[in-house]
Symmetry: C2
Subunit: 725 residues, 2 copies
């Protein structure tokens, strides 16, 4: 399958290994050398090696341990170059400087890939960073791919490989879920947690400092991995934002075999980001931008490990919900009520059962049962009542999803009910309906839960969590079904904008320059002229038509309103003339006459809703566009939304939907709806402008005044700051 | 201790039993009869009886089972009256009509209390409701207290009682937590769940249909129960809202030994409420009102069983946090980052460690460890490193709370670390610091978790949940420490208001009447006069002073603006005169001349922030006051807050804090802060007015215009609707 597995020569050219993706050498090696092994159980350098043996690796494992004869019964070598056979993968646990020397020898030996478990690199400061540069250099020289350093290792459960190159306690079960983690120790918690739930994995990898292989490389590799159907990630930093969006969007919905991706991003808060930094030397991208990226890429963002696995189980083991109509079958009224609340709050709807269904239920259930959804089979129900109720709802075409709730009364035959649910699952395998269970409790219900989970039926401690998972699944289905929009390409006058932007020095453009740039890109800039004296202002006003606005132009004045540099609603030549005099008078107490370049005379914009649009540059994702409602909304509620440039048509539309305060644009109290098309248009042009000119560091349109539908919008103010990089 | 336990005569007068609270007969009986027992294991009528025996009840148990000689080896009786000894408590499992007959005999036998397990009452509709009335009548006749019907039963774990009068699977461990549930089957899930976590209970009761004993009775009983230190409730409806607030406020903070109360309210959504209704025939109070009540009463509202027990464990087993400064000790960077994010998001703060603490850590931890908070003792840490780090943070006075995180690497000695944490807990028992743990995973960490939980250290599957619990605990501490304010009593002219409100028929008051009522209660009503003709309007305006507002007065016109019945900002006699003509012209196309009583001339109110105040009547809690911001805020964001009448000074202040949009009142963009005192004053007067006049069905002040601090507020519009009940 891979270049690596067929390799016989020891010194292949770097390019070949890299071309094969290189990652097969990590996940499907035929032989592994562990460098730095010791004979002390309970230490990383020992356990890594014995884990490989205990995991029944399908190949040869060579311990490299200077001055040791054998480790755990296996013949040891002083140096990797001493090993007489070819080696595909090296696992390094040597501490300190020895690690670099050993890696160099791995290169000489022609090893294709290495996992560096050892810590003491970028995460410990500058000296460590230099060491990390050194191992990158060595790896590049020999065309080796690297996992780590500072990581737990990697696991592949495929039966013809069985690689546990990690210091986790045990090999996980085989399954359809891949897990990528930036935190090593978190992996062990996840493995143990998953084992408790009988959740298996296809691949499991701890990326550590990501000196070479990042989450993006892993995603590319997993995209084509037939054994992986759901991908989970824990990230603290994102290295290559644009590539992440591209590959994730491909995997989650636009490729041939879409697979959902779930991610937890650690370091949401400033304190959390600081903790992450000292942990893997992560560079934090702004969390709001991260949120935007996940949405743009179709990545489901989870808030905790529990939430992530709750959703992953559903996606891995059950069909995606066809719709959001849920039927609840319970032996307990209270949990039925709680599940109903949870379902509604998560935008599921309670399926309206067909009369036929209710008739069947009436026949099979006792008179005190509740035949409406949630169906209450009553506390003393045994398996027969569950079977009757489940058959009825599985046969009802109005039901998309089924949630089974059980509470353990003294007469509840828990394991019999669990087995009956498994039978129903098998009998209705073709129904396409999603089946989830919540056997509530812990001790007595445990054997029942075991039966369900071993049979691939997702189980949730609380019905609420089942609803959380269902909400995520419905959202993922909607993402799959969305109409995939294009990147809009507007007709613009790029050379005219370039004529202003390319020669301009770093710093703010003047208002006339900024308006010219926006005009060139087709934004709705109201008619304006630059006047250098009162007479010019009057004649400009006469040409434009009253009423007009006067706005000071000076490179020294950023906040025009603060210095009385804006005068609105001038209705005649006389008003323009006296406003000019008053303005020049006012601003001269702030800046010298030579710094005043005149004033802009602009047509007064009719009133409308104020919207803010902006562009900024994120250290990880590059240009980002922002949308919010102006004035009080952005200041008081911080209700803004972001997308990474370039944005598609669907993104622009979704940005408006994102705003909590967006209802204001939809026409409250009998007002007309605002011109949403004009906002989408402006967002699209903004994205194109930012993509075309990397030197734009900041751009604020504040506000864009939006008129009722069909009447467009106008730019009322803009600032552009340039900073070449 | 109780009248019941000393009882020897069989027919005490009802009053005496009632005076003793009556609940001791349920929770501390010396003898129990179970009526309706059968010999079929796995049925409710059988298991109830054997559960009493299996629980080792410290008294005599008598099975009543017509035509049976013995049940489970115990001599049976045909009728309760046949039992030769006194009986304190009857447990009824007879189905149908037999239940009422049996209860009647219990009364004749002089039994003080009964638990009716049987279903088929109010929850099945009208016929059932009649049966429920009948058992209430019988109980009242004999002065019997009742639990149920339609319930799981009651449990008391006290060692000298050991009562398991329920069809739960097993007797729970003894502990400090009391659980009150309206849902029976939920109880069994809770018991099983708690057993898995080694959580014990003092009392455990399923209230069912609450024909007699309600959550309020239970709270009164538990208030003085020395074995209960935390009270948990699951409710679907609330029967007696005002009493609930009083007793809960007493228990949670104002009594001698405050105990926290945690509650889940099922039926938050309309669909959930409907499900609850068919389940225990519950009458749903509005959920927002419920939320308000819980806040007024200091009840912590939990969203799920997991959340409730997470917080309850902390409150039952650990000291209340002295402050919100948390120290995190972890062997895994990722979970440390996640815990930090969670702590910050829950308004905890990361303790800033003393230099001395960091020095100690530096001495005891390896060089790759992170010595800042979160303290990372690194993945290969064993118990010695945990001990060193824990000692350091327990010794640091800047730390209020300690969270211990563990992930299971191959070298992690889980049980040794758990034992070490237990030792630390004991050694620092006097420190007053709160200690929580999260050993992440499921299988390998289980033995460690067991050790912790048996030692009374709360354990959380995820560090995030520990932070949730801590947030609740900090909030409860703040509730305990709040300055307890009084019910304000304003000087008002009650007779003047009564003169208008008492004779008025049901329906809306006219605007002049409504304004007079508000004036009598000291609200800031701007000066106004009723004019019947243009001349009167002009002379009123002259007296009041310009500018003025003209507002139509007609019993047929509710929405004045819609019929052009309001004209603002009239600056002269001429403007008033022409406005009068225009208005009369406009309204006459809507109502006949005889229905127009004239117009109000009112001083124009200077601009300010618009606030909405209201009163409505909730079916369960009675009068409720509402506060929100006017205009767009209430319409678009539905950002309103409620309190049950009467409100204290602290409630009024807190209502303003509740509003998400309340920042608008705090002076954004350099504006002055609004006059919050004027809002609090209006809320207090509104509460007093509603309390004084039960016939007020609806009152809307929309808007109250609030000026900058010190400049007061003005009522711009009011509507009052009366409906006597």
């Amino acid at each position: 399958m891979s270049a690596v597995s067929q390799s016989t020569t020891q010194h292949e050219p770097p390019a070949a290994a890299a071309k094969a993706g290189g990652l097969d050498a990590i996940f499907r090696p035929k032989s592994v050398a562990v460098l730095g092994v010791t004979n002390t159980p309970g230490t990383v350098p020992h356990d890594i090696f014995t884990n490989l043996l205990a995991g029944r690796f399908n190949g040869a494992v060579y311990p490299v341990a200077p001055r040791k004869r054998h480790i755990a019964g296996v013949r040891a070598y002083d140096y990797v170059l001493e090993i007489p056979d070819p080696v595909d993968l090296a696992v390094l646990v040597f501490p300190g400087r020895v690690c670099e020397l050993a890696l160099e020898q791995c290169g000489q030996k022609g090893i294709k890939a290495a996992i560096i478990i050892s810590a003491g690199f970028r995460e410990v400061g500058e000296a460590g960073l230099a060491r990390e540069q050194e191992i990158k250099r060595i790896a590049a020289k020999y065309g080796m791919r690297l996992i780590g350093p500072n990581c737990l290792g990697a696991i592949n459960t495929e039966d013809d490989v069985r690689l546990n190159a990690s210091f986790a306690r045990a090999m996980p079960d085989s399954g359809k879920i891949a897990f990528i983690s930036q935190s090593g120790a978190l992996c062990t918690a996840v493995l143990d947690y998953a084992q408790g739930k009988h959740i298996g994995f296809s691949k499991f990898v701890s990326l550590g400092n990501k000196a070479d292989i990042t989450e993006v490389d892993m995603l590319e590799y997993l995209a084509d991995d037939p054994r992986t159907s759901v991908i989970l990630m824990y990230l603290e930093e994102i290295r290559d934002g644009k590539r992440l969006i591209d590959i994730a969007r491909h995997i989650t919905g636009e490729g041939a075999n879409p697979k959902p991706i779930l991610a937890i991003k650690g370091g949401r808060t400033a304190a959390g980001a600081a903790a992450a930094q000292s942990h893997t030397g992560a560079l934090a991208a702004s969390d709001v931008v991260c949120d935007a990226v996940f949405r743009q890429a179709g990545i489901i963002r989870s808030k905790s490990i529990e939430e992530m696995f709750n959703t992953a189980q559903l996606l891995a083991y059950q069909p995606l919900p066809r719709g959001n109509r849920i039927a609840i079958v319970t032996n307990a009224g209270g949990p039925g009520v709680m599940a109903t609340d949870a379902a509604i709050e998560r935008r599921l709807s309670l399926a309206k059962l067909a009369p036929d269904t209710t008739a069947k239920l009436k026949k099979d259930l006792p008179p005190t049962a509740n035949l409406n959804n949630p169906i209450d089979v009553i506390g003393d129900a045994r398996d027969d009542r569950y079977v009757a109720a489940l058959q009825a709802v599985f046969d009802d075409p109005a039901v998309d999803q089924v949630l089974v709730i059980l509470t353990p009364q003294s007469m509840t035959n828990i394991t019999a009910i669990a087995s009956a649910v498994c039978n129903i699952k098998d009998r209705y395998a073709e129904s396409g309906k999603t089946l989830l269970c919540s056997f509530m409790g812990a001790k007595d219900v445990a054997p029942g839960i075991d039966i369900l989970q071993k049979h691939g039926i997702p189980h949730y401690v609380l019905p609420e969590w089942a609803c959380d998972a269902m909400e995520d699944a419905v959202r993922y289905r909607n993402w799959l079904n969305r109409s995939c929009t294009e990147l809009p390409r507007f007709e613009v006058n790029c050379p005219r904008a370039a004529g202003i932007l390319d020669p301009a020095p770093d710093g703010y453009l003047s208002e006339p320059q900024a308006l010219d740039v926006l005009s060139a890109y087709g934004f709705p800039v109201p008619e304006y002229r630059l006047a250098r004296a009162a007479d010019e202002a009057v004649s400009a006003a006469e040409r434009i038509g009253y009423p007009v606005v006067l706005r000071i132009v000076s490179p020294k004045i950023i906040h025009k309103f603060d210095v009385k540099g804006v005068i609105l609603d001038l209705k005649s030549a006389a008003e323009v003339r006296s406003a000019w005099a008053a303005m020049m008078d006012a601003v001269r107490s702030h800046v010298s006459a030579s710094d005043v370049h005149g004033a802009i005379v602009r047509r007064m914009i009719p009133s409308g809703k104020e919207v803010i649009l902006g562009v900024s540059r994120d250290p990880v994702f590059g240009h980002v566009v922002m949308l919010g409602l102006g004035g009080i909304y952005v200041e008081a509620f911080r209700d803004v939304t972001f997308r990474v440039v370039p944005i598609r048509e669907g993104d622009a539309a979704q940005m408006i939907e994102d705003l909590r305060t967006g209802v204001v644009l939809k026409g409250l109290r009998g007002e007309k709806t605002s011109d949403l098309g004009a906002i989408r248009d402006a967002l699209g042009r903004l994205s194109q402008l930012a993509a075309d000119f990397p030197q734009i560091a900041e751009l604020d349109i504040n506000p864009l005044i939006v008129h009722p539908a069909g009447e467009g919008a106008h730019i009322a103010d803009v600032r552009i700051r340039l900073e070449k990089r």
